[in-house]
């Protein structure tokens, strides 16, 4: 990286430094509050199960606090402008997961032996270890990945490896890969991993890269049906390929939820990139059509669809018709989950006061139901809100970041996280049929935890890029890693406001076809498939071809569309109210290596 980016924040403007300090202080406070909640939960569990609180109940909470504080320090150093809510929310979820697994451990042991149960053993201790590994991975990733756009350099590799990982369990025999009828695992000895979790991240990166490149083409409309523009037939190709792959996943891995996740991720990212609602409609139609087809085939011929058919039937009637014993066989898991949730009611039975052990697989798939019995509807709502905070903050990050790759990456990852939570919690509470997905951050299991923490690291990285004020050292205007031009300081960079970064603004849907190619203010038409890593430089290294045309003073709007903070829930103060003119004057144009004003750009 250039010298400029590596310089210590000596020349940081007071405003930028103040903002980052405030954000990090908020983060620290929220983090400590979350850890206090976790410690309180631990104490409550012991009070209920042991009738006394042992002297070392706080040890898991202390270990977790140390780990997360370490991550917090990494964030302070490497991503000082990142969103302050994401890390504490995720840390609290993770901590509660570890705590609940410890509760399950204690519950399995006879009452007399519980006080002697070692503080770090069992599932809880193992999950603590996985947390340490996952957080370390995330910290390492955040430390060494300075710019999220680096990911796009490896997009094709990631895509290829992602598809392999996604299909790998399908190719393996059932003895290695099948758990509860869904082939999503690789189990070697006592070690098991779910490659799909990592495949999700890799495919998201690939989709983001691919869609930025192809979005003009994919946004071309060919005909208009019922007021919605539909794309050309030949452009459906890639979508159909992905749909076919998802169907293959459904058929060979026998899990609808995973198929839904991959397909949903792609369709939503496609919609974001092209702004065409028709893609959403096509995607919904394909998905539901596929699901109904799978159900019908499952009823008729069984085979690979049998698992889905059975799960759909259990969803429709978990207790079975009167006289059947479905509640004791097929439907036992879902029935016990519902009974547990109902027994918990509004306030729950109290931590340690329920019988989560009655639900099979309560340590991973059904952890939400197990916790629900003990913390009640109010507790579960709090957990859902924590997830929602992460998702919403992720979307906010996507809105705020100035480059298209970052938008797609952050938006896609955030939505996928939300979709995964929807799929698993919906399955557990009988909103949709049950699938083989894990509950992010709560489920016992290393691969899920690691993959989700890496996702958070990426989100934090993008969030830092999104919220850093223009020109802050290490902030947005960093020398991009342009192809073939490593490390060269940019020339004439500082002034271009965010909104100009888009190389070819996507025409609004109503403008119809072919307008894309004639985007105004484009000095030289560029072939659509040249490496367009967003914001990467022109061949001459300058950041944007719009430099000369832009107004002198950067305005804080970073979007072609006007944003109205009063109306838009996703617009926050970083749209401009905080970054006011005073900052603009005193701000980063004095940073070393940068010209002090755009007008001085030769």
């Amino acid at each position: 990286m250039s010298v400029a980016a590596a310089a210590p924040p000596v020349a940081a403007s007071p405003a930028a430094g103040k903002r980052s300090r405030r954000a990090r202080r908020t983060e620290l406070i929220l983090l400590l509050f979350g850890m206090v909640v976790v410690a309180g939960y631990l104490a409550a569990v012991e009070a209920n199960l042991l009738d006394t609180i042992t002297g070392d109940f706080w040890v898991p909470a202390a270990i977790l606090t140390t780990l997360f504080l370490g991550m917090h320090i990494v964030v302070r150093l490497r991503a000082p402008y990142a969103d302050p809510v994401i890390l504490p929310a995720v840390a609290t979820l993770n901590g509660l997961g570890v705590t609940f697994l410890r509760r399950l451990d204690l519950g399995r042991v006879k009452a007399a032996d519980r006080a002697d149960y070692p503080i770090l053993s069992g599932e809880g201790g193992r999950q603590l270890l996985w947390t340490a590994i996952a957080v370390t991975l995330a910290a390492v990733m955040l430390w060494f990945l300075r710019d999220h756009r680096t990911i796009s350099r490896y997009a094709w590799t990631l895509g290829f490896v992602g598809i392999i990982l996604m299909m790998l369990p399908a190719a393996l025999p059932g003895s290695i890969s099948e758990v509860h009828g869904a082939k999503l695992w690789i189990r070697v000895g006592s070690f098991s991993i779910q490659p799909g979790e990592f495949a999700k991240l890799m495919l998201a990166s690939f989709f983001a890269y691919y869609l930025v490149r192809k979005r003009e083409v994919l946004a071309l409309a060919s005909k208009r049906v019922l007021g919605v523009d539909f794309p050309r037939g030949r452009d459906l190709g890639p979508v159909l390929v992905v749909w076919a792959l998802s169907l293959l996943v459904l058929v060979f891995e026998k899990d609808l939820g995973t198929a839904l996740l991959y397909f949903g991720m792609f369709v939503v990212m496609l919609y974001i990139a092209t702004e065409r609602v028709s893609w959403l409609l096509i995607g919904l139609f394909l998905f539901f059509g596929g699901a109904i087809l799978a159900y019908v085939l499952g009823a008729a011929i069984g085979g690979p669809f049998a698992n889905f058919y059975q799960r759909a039937n259990i969803w429709l009637d978990p207790f079975g018709p009167a006289g059947s014993d479905r509640a004791y066989t097929d439907g036992y898991q879902l029935v016990q989950s519902l009974l547990g949730l109902g027994t918990g009611g509004l306030f729950g039975t109290g931590p340690g006061g329920g019988s989560p052990g009655q639900v099979p697989e309560v340590r991973n798939d059904f952890i939400f139901a197990g916790m629900g019995e003990e913390i009640g509807l109010f507790g579960l709502t709090a957990l859902l809100v924590l997830y929602l905070l992460v998702v919403v903050r992720g979307i906010k990050t996507a809105l705020a970041v100035r480059d298209s790759f970052g938008k797609l990456l952050a938006g896609g990852l955030a939505f996928t996280l939300g979709l995964q939570v929807f799929v698993i919690v919906g399955g557990v509470s009988r909103l949709i049929p049950l699938t083989g997905q894990t509950t992010p951050f709560l489920s016992a299991g290393g691969s899920s935890l690691m993959a989700n923490w890496i996702l958070i690291a990426i989100l934090l990285r993008v969030s830092d890029a999104a919220r850093a004020p223009l020109g802050a050292p290490g902030g947005m205007i960093r020398p991009p890693v342009a192809v073939g031009q490593p490390g060269r300081p940019p020339v004439g960079t500082a002034s271009a406001p965010v909104g100009a970064r888009r190389t070819a603004p996507v025409a609004p849907a109503s403008a119809g076809a072919a307008s894309v190619a004639t985007a105004p203010a484009s000095p030289a038409p560029r072939p659509a498939d040249s490496p367009q890593i967003a914001d990467s430089g022109q061949p001459d290294g300058s950041l944007s071809r719009h430099t000369a045309e832009q107004p002198a003073v950067s305005d804080a709007t970073f979007d072609d569309e006007a944003l109205d903070p009063a109306v838009d829930p996703f617009v926050d103060e970083y749209d401009g109210s905080e970054y006011d003119a005073a900052d603009a004057e005193t701000e980063p144009y004095d940073a070393p290596g940068r010209p002090s004003s755009p007008r001085e750009n030769p």
């Binding site: 109902g342 027994t343 019988s355 509807l377 709502t381 859902l384 929602l388 919690v425 009988r430 979007d559």
Partner: protein, 500 residues
């Protein structure tokens, strides 16, 4: 891309909104259904924080909670084991309770609304007040006699039931069903052992868990003749009215001949009504039934409570254990005409008619009480944990009027004749006016007959006790043995009341 991003954000919020709505449905709307579902085996550990109340029989505890040093602080204990098992019920660690443990579950647990003041006080004092206590109507002496005699009956009948009632109030003084079981094994804290014990009992072909006094119906045999007599008396017959009898009777429309138990019973062409009942004359009552017609028989039975599917025994103003409905059967053909062969058989307690032992006892009780049938109940009082504060005292309720006082008086006279001169002599009690009726009921092909006895004891025109005894498949002499047991149970109640 921002506009679609924002919309995607809204979609995410909508998805979470759906999750929240569904969870609200599961954890609020359906919470109670799930909590009390039959598939729900969750132990409410909090229940075991508080000592469960005592179920008392004649001042002694038949169900109590003893302190343990387990994870669950209290263990339910049933000192009398088999004798009271069906009435008192059991409260297992995993699963739903039965019997009075079920009927008064909240009060015994201390969580009922009536004990709210105690719970409020607990919040302050940080103690857990024990649950409330239930005082039953049972007489321990009568129950013990009934249980011992049933288990050791001289006809070696393995299955039987006894019900004894106070005719003036409806209070159940004794209710036994054999074979019985020891409920202590089902409530053990070792849940796997408890489950195994329960499964073994549930799988036992003898069905020890079944409370035959209220949940099972049997062919009544000759005790149905009391209904026939009531129908006749209501239609204008008197105890001395002559009715056709004979050594055999062939109803129109069948070749089957009804005969009497032994040839010496009513071989004459005509006998009086009272003689017919005293000797238990099958031919007489068969013809009487046909003569009275289906409507009168069915109506008389309904008047005594047959066909009532809504009866429950427990608390008078609350819930109780459901009682199976007794049936007369259809006495008409498809076209609505009287079905004489069926009526003839029904009149002697065969064909399709079925009765529970409780219903049989209620029949005798109504006769003893001048035709007024009282609602049966088991729970006499609800006392607070201090055994003094009274939260409920049973106020007897009239269930129905079965017949007029005059008819009842005549029925009494007829039934007294059965005990003094007829088939139920073994039920006599010195110094007391005892009436009754025996019954022998054919049932399945190749199976031994059931033996029945229903009766009552009165002194100075005041009814003291009514009883019904069933010895299933007891064979010949079964009804006589039933009468003997009935007499002993009635004597036990009399002793309890301070009689001789």
């Amino acid at each position: 891309m921002n506009a679609p991003l924002r919309r995607v954000g809204v979609v995410a919020m909508v998805l979470f909104g759906l999750l929240f709505a569904n969870l609200t449905y599961v954890q609020w709307q359906k919470a109670n259904d799930y909590r009390t579902s039959q598939y729900n085996g969750r132990v409410q550990v909090a229940e075991y924080d508080r000592q469960r109340g005592v179920i008392q029989v004649s001042g002694k505890p038949a169900a109590k909670s003893i302190v343990t040093d387990d994870n669950l602080k209290f263990l339910r204990s049933y000192p009398y084991k088999q004798a009271y098992a069906h009435i008192v019920g059991y409260k297992p660690v995993n699963g739903t309770p039965t019997g009075i443990e079920y009927v008064e579950n909240e009060f015994l647990a201390g969580t009922s609304d009536q004990l709210f003041a105690d719970r409020l006080r607990d919040l302050w004092s940080n103690e857990k007040t024990p649950g409330g206590n239930v005082v039953t109507t049972l007489s321990s002496r009568a129950q013990d006699v009934a249980f011992d005699e049933l288990v050791n009956n001289r006809n070696d009948a393995k299955v039987g039931a006894v019900v004894a009632l106070d005719p003036r109030t409806g209070a159940i003084l004794s209710m036994v069903s054999t074979p019985s079981y020891d409920p202590n094994s089902i409530v053990s804290h070792d849940t796997s052992g408890a489950d195994a014990a329960y499964n073994k009992l549930a799988a036992d072909p003898a069905q020890p868990l079944l409370n035959r006094a209220i949940s099972e119906t049997y062919q009544p045999g000759s005790i149905f003749k009391v209904i026939d007599s009531a129908a006749a008396l209501e239609s204008g017959y008197t105890t001395n009215t002559s009715i056709p009898a004979g050594s055999s009777y062939q109803a129109p429309g069948t070749t089957h001949k009804i005969t009497n138990a032994v040839p010496s019973i009513c071989p004459e062409d005509q006998v009086t009504l009272i003689e017919a009942l005293t000797e238990s004359c099958n031919t007489g009552f068969a013809q009487l039934g046909v003569a009275l017609g289906p409507d009168k028989i069915t109506q008389a039975a309904a008047n005594f409570g047959w066909g009532d599917a809504s009866l429950q025994v427990g608390r008078l103003d609350g819930k109780g254990m459901p009682v199976a409905a007794s049936e007369v059967g259809t006495l008409t053909t498809d076209s609505g005409n009287p079905d004489a062969p069926i009526i003839a058989q029904t009149a002697i307690g065969q064909a399709n008619t079925r009765v529970t032992p409780l219903q049989a006892a209620m029949m005798a009780a109504a006769v003893a009480n001048g035709g007024e049938q009282m609602r049966p109940y088991l729970i006499d009082q609800l006392l607070g944990p201090d055994l003094t504060t009274n939260y409920y005292r049973a106020v007897p309720q009239r269930l129905r009027t079965t017949c007029s006082g005059a008819v009842a008086a005549n029925l009494q006279a007829m039934m007294v004749s059965v005990v003094e001169n007829g088939t139920a002599r073994r039920a006599q009690i010195d110094g007391y006016r005892v009436g009754g009726k025996t019954g022998t009921a054919q049932n399945a092909e190749g199976a031994k007959d059931h033996g029945w006895f229903i009766g009552f004891a009165m002194k100075d025109d005041r009814p003291i006790v009514a009883v019904a005894v069933l010895l299933a498949n007891s064979g010949s002499g079964g009804s006589g043995e039933a009468a003997r047991i009935g007499g002993l149970v009635m004597k036990a109640v009399i002793t309890d009341r301070g009689g001789k």
